[in-house]
Symmetry: C2
Subunit: 155 residues, 2 copies
């Protein structure tokens, strides 16, 4: 499977692309454009927190053998470098991930997964692998995993 | 005023440094370290959202003539490049900013300002100037500004 360029339109069923496009307004005496409220954040109990993820860069072709989802909250990933990373998502059918899609960011994009959306684990392809993550902090069964057999081969 | 290197200890009275340090645990089959819940997010009404800020890079020496604060919520800045940026904060005394401090990030740090903390506007020094911002979305008087006369000269 070859990753597609990440676009807001293609990604909309799975979540939001965090990028500086669309409506904005000037702040800070004109030195800054603000693109407000770009993710459909969603929470069932708990609260939002900001965490840091330090992930090991992967190489293509990438073997994806596991998808996960979070039934109790959205999860947003902001890369702290301008390197592209791989984004893998799938639709759900009766509790199983189906019709997987792979996207590649352009180095100026983050992603926010909708609550309960199947997705691959964090897969930077270059750079430091450092991300800020906005997700639910709290107790509860907020992780489901699904082993892919055979795995997806991407790249 | 010469900026100090940003450290969690020095910055604690003003907010949190978003960096991969301190306690963490392994996720994603060992490929990722998670540093959980690193910012004291705080909200009075409204809700949290993720916005994108596209700021023009500034040069040193930087002339800072305005501080602002947000009485209704914390505000967190995650740089989407690995370039250092300038962080300016001040203590409050009777509604006026006093004893300003200037910090320089190391290229792997974001910052989260505590609610009602005086701070300068976003001042990238290099790179694309793209940041993700987690702050309060909602109506209400959530912005106070204070003109500095004379301005602070930093760098």
């Amino acid at each position: 499977m070859t990753p597609e360029p990440l676009s807001a339109e293609a990604f909309a069923p799975f979540g939001d692309v965090l990028e500086a496009s669309g409506p904005s307004f000037k702040i800070n005496e004109g030195f800054c454009d603000r693109y407000t409220d770009r993710a459909r954040l969603d929470l069932d109990g708990g609260r939002f927190g900001i965490s840091l993820f330090q992930a090991a860069p992967r190489a293509l072709p990438y073997r994806c053998n596991l998808l996960e989802r979070h039934p109790q909250g959205s999860q947003s990933f902001v890369p702290m470098t301008d390197d592209p990373f791989l984004v893998i998502v799938a639709e759900d059918e009766g509790g199983r991930p189906v019709r997987p899609r792979a996207f590649l960011t352009d180095g100026r994009q983050g992603v926010s997964y909708l609550r309960n959306t199947w997705h691959g684990v964090l897969t930077p392809l270059a750079g430091s692998g450092l991300f800020a993550v906005v997700d639910r902090i709290g107790d509860g069964p907020n992780l489901e995993e699904y082993v892919l057999d055979p795995p997806l081969i991407i790249g």
